[in-house]
């Protein structure tokens, strides 16, 4: 599909109602993410098997090997964003991140059983992921018409999730075919990752290929100052604040799955399928949620998405029958990701200064990620001190408060027309 569409001009857009095409660059970025996610999820899926059965390590050792700390990842992401913004080097910086991750598979292959090298390779993979995220999202922002950003991010996230679902399947098929040759999984993952880098090099536009801003877009003052200079814009500042607030009230998925398992007395065999269910819902709803965000303005899906998470917490507290709770929580969790993950980026994009997109998006992502880590720690602490029910009630209250604050704080999309972005009918142009 990327082959068929990248030959088309991706800007300026030629909108024809809702049937406008997703820009070729976004499809190219989505394809790179899909291929890269197949590559990285292949490794992630077999790594525990390899370390525990192949090398005879204990589970705790596995935890120690698990690469970079959260703080280091956050720093790398901010640096990746800021560096990419200097002279519009999104393609170079992002490509470096993809290449680093692909090369890390080679490191796993050559490490043999040496745990120090394995830890190094896993760290390099994380480093690569941290570096590339912000430049890639900035490229999506730069190459999509502002009124279609929600759909662009939705498309990208759906393709990304597809790769994440395919990777483990590919890895286990390989293990089955080779009677547990873990090195074959690493080798194939390296080849798939290399393909991703190549697609990035060939089909992702570099500097100088930026489309002209469509009419009505805010004029771009030249970017000045450090990474935090963007925070002077009040709209952007509020988004960062809300990302942090909402993130701080989001308990980790693993806690929700654990609660589901306890609540339903679910057989452990089914435990790994819970995240799959949520991912499938995310995959299906990412594009519709993005389109809806383009129509309604992006703050509403973001708020409703967190509302879905709020309902999921509530559902876990109700005495409803088990299967209903299970289905409900998984659907709501998928809906939460569909309505917030890409939409937050789409909301942020138009508030960013020209030439500062990668750094700006990186800061929002980092604020959210760090806040979520804090939330997980706090949730675990409340659980330990007063039990899971109390922890869930506390999380529910915190999230409700955060959503209320965000509803007041979140800015509307900038653009022509009162009350936010006009619908596609009003922005329609005929050639």
């Amino acid at each position: 599909m990327y082959l068929a569409t990248t030959g088309r001009p991706d800007a300026p857009p030629t909108p024809s109602g809702v049937r406008r095409r997703v820009p070729g660059t976004v499809l190219a970025l989505g394809t790179v993410s899909l291929v890269t996610d197949v590559s990285s999820e292949m490794v992630t899926a077999v790594l525990p098997l390899y370390l525990v059965l192949g090398l005879g390590l204990s589970p705790l050792q596995f935890g120690l090997l698990d690469g970079l700390s959260t703080g280091a990842t956050a720093l790398v992401r901010l640096l990746g964003g800021a560096t990419a913004d200097r002279g519009g080097r999104h393609k170079t910086v992002g490509g470096l991140g993809y290449a680093l991750s692909a090369l890390s598979r080679l490191g796993l292959l050559l490490a043999g059983g040496a745990t120090g090298w394995i830890a190094g390779a896993l760290g390099a993979d994380r480093l690569g992921k941290g570096i590339r995220t912000a430049p890639r999202d900035a490229l999506i922002t730069l190459h999509s018409p502002p009124e279609d950003l929600g759909r662009a991010f939705g498309t990208h996230r759906a393709m990304d999730t597809t790769g994440a679902l395919l990777g483990p399947l590919a890895a286990f098929a390989l293990l089955w075919a080779t009677a547990d040759a873990y090195d074959a999984v690493f080798a194939v993952s390296f080849c798939v990752g290399t393909l991703g880098v190549l697609l990035w090099l060939l089909f992702v536009p570099g500097r100088g290929a930026l489309p002209a801003r469509p009419l009505g877009a805010p004029a771009a003052p030249p970017a000045r100052g450090g990474l935090l200079a963007a925070l002077r814009a009040p709209g952007y500042r509020r988004i960062v604040l809300c990302a942090g607030l909402l993130g701080a009230a989001t308990v980790g998925d693993s806690f929700l799955y654990l609660l589901l398992q306890q609540r339903l007395d679910l057989d452990a065999t089914w435990f790994p399928f819970l995240p799959l269910g949520a991912a499938a819902v995310f995959l299906l709803l990412a594009v519709p949620a993005g389109r809806l965000a383009d129509r309604l303005g992006r703050r509403l899906p973001l708020l409703y998405g967190h509302g879905a998470l709020l309902l999921a917490y509530g559902l876990l507290l109700t005495p409803l029958p088990g299967p209903l709770v299970l289905t409900g929580v998984l659907v709501l969790l998928g809906l939460f990701y569909a309505a917030t993950d890409g939409v937050l980026m789409a909301l942020t994009g138009p508030h960013l200064t020209e030439g500062r997109q990668a750094g700006g998006l990186a800061l929002v992502q980092t604020a959210q990620a760090l806040a979520r880590v804090g939330a997980a720690v706090a949730f675990g602490a409340v659980w330990t001190a007063s039990g899971p029910e109390t922890a869930l009630v506390a999380a529910l209250a915190a999230l409700a408060a955060a959503v209320c604050c965000a509803a007041r704080l979140l800015p509307r999309d900038p653009g022509p027309g009162p009350g936010g972005r006009p619908g596609p009918e009003t922005s329609e142009r005929t050639d």
């Binding site: 059965l53 589970p59 390989l174 998925d253 693993s254």
Partner: protein, 329 residues
């Protein structure tokens, strides 16, 4: 439209086709080469006549090359007779053998296979997870095993283990001992991150020792099956292994936070509360086995080694290309 790389679309498509051929060919070649000679049958049962005997002190272990349980025997070719069942983890004592075998497929699942002295299958259960530890009590009545329960990419935030206990006398199975009331620091402890692993039974088949991990620390716990309770005794003790006389625990002690060789093998005297390192100075990541009252056996670097428990002597390799040592007695 400005072309991203200056090349025409046709050129770029051809580059991708060529790369697909090259990378696909490379991946296929590597996979075929890796698959060749790996036809090891992972469903093998014990050969007729291969049983859990051979005199006191006879050492059994998993043979890495065949994946089967082997009896170490200097006279045999290769120093071993690999005629046992195929297992990923193995332990045997008191006429009972415990074999953990991973099943292919996604998500990771394993068979827990209980065998008698003739290595005939007595019981088989399919449980989720990757085999990590297996232990049989000295009497052969109590079985415990630990499965590593993260095998999927979607819950990567932390690992988790699932430790089960099976009483062969009653057939009673505790699938996950996480629910056992745990006292830590004098208080009943509730936490979402409680994980148990590495069980070792006392001679009464009721008391047991294990590792519990919570809040980023590991503790030695003493459990009581009949009272169904557990209490933490001290910190930084993993994979305890009780000596045959019940006075000492061999265990893994965490000595560094880095990923390289973070553990050393120690012995802890239960009466005095004193601990001492053994003469093995390398990083050991295994639940040690008491081969007699004074000697420990453990896996290191793909082989089985042994060292005196009192801190004297030097490590000695018992078998290369082997793991999961057991002395069925």
């Amino acid at each position: 439209m400005p072309l991203p790389t200056g090349a025409s679309t046709r050129t770029r498509v051809w580059i991708v086709v060529l790369a697909l051929l090259l990378l696909g060919g490379g991946a296929t070649a590597y996979t075929l080469r890796a698959a060749a000679g790996r036809e090891a049958d992972t469903t093998r049962t014990a050969d007729p006549g291969f049983v859990l005997t051979g005199g006191p002190g006879t050492l059994y272990a998993r043979d890495t090359a065949t994946g089967r349980v082997a009896r170490l025997d200097r006279a045999a070719p290769g120093g071993r007779t690999a005629g046992g069942p195929a297992c990923d983890r193995f332990h045997a004592a008191g006429g009972t053998a415990l074999c953990l075998r991973r099943r292919p497929g996604v998500p990771a699942r394993s068979y827990v296979i209980v065998l008698d002295r003739q290595l005939r299958e007595v019981r088989r259960m399919a449980l989720p997870g990757i085999p990590s530890r297996a232990r049989v009590s000295a009497s052969g009545n109590m079985l415990a095993w630990t499965m590593f329960a993260t095998g999927d990419s979607y819950a990567r935030s932390s690992f988790s283990t699932r430790t089960s206990i099976l009483d062969l006398r009653t057939g009673y199975l505790v699938k996950n001992i996480e629910q056992i009331p745990l006292t830590l620091g004098g208080r009943r402890h509730h936490a979402p991150d409680v994980n148990y692993w590495g069980v070792s039974f006392a001679a009464d088949d009721n008391r047991f020792y294990a590792t519990v991990s919570t809040g980023g620390r590991t503790h030695l716990v003493e459990g009581d099956m009949a009272a169904w309770s557990a209490r933490a005794l001290r910190e930084n003790v993993e994979c305890p292994s009780l000596s045959p006389d019940g006075t000492r625990l061999a265990f893994k002690k965490r000595v560094s936070d880095g990923p390289r060789e973070p553990w050393r093998l120690y012995v802890y005297d239960l009466a005095s509360g004193r601990e001492h390192p053994v003469a093995e100075r390398r990083g050991i990541d295994d639940q040690a086995l008491w081969t007699d009252g004074e000697t420990l056996a453990y896996g290191y670097g793909g082989g089985v080694w042994s060292v005196p428990a009192d801190g004297t002597g030097t490590p000695r390799q018992l078998a290369a290309g082997a793991s999961s040592p057991a002395v069925p007695g």
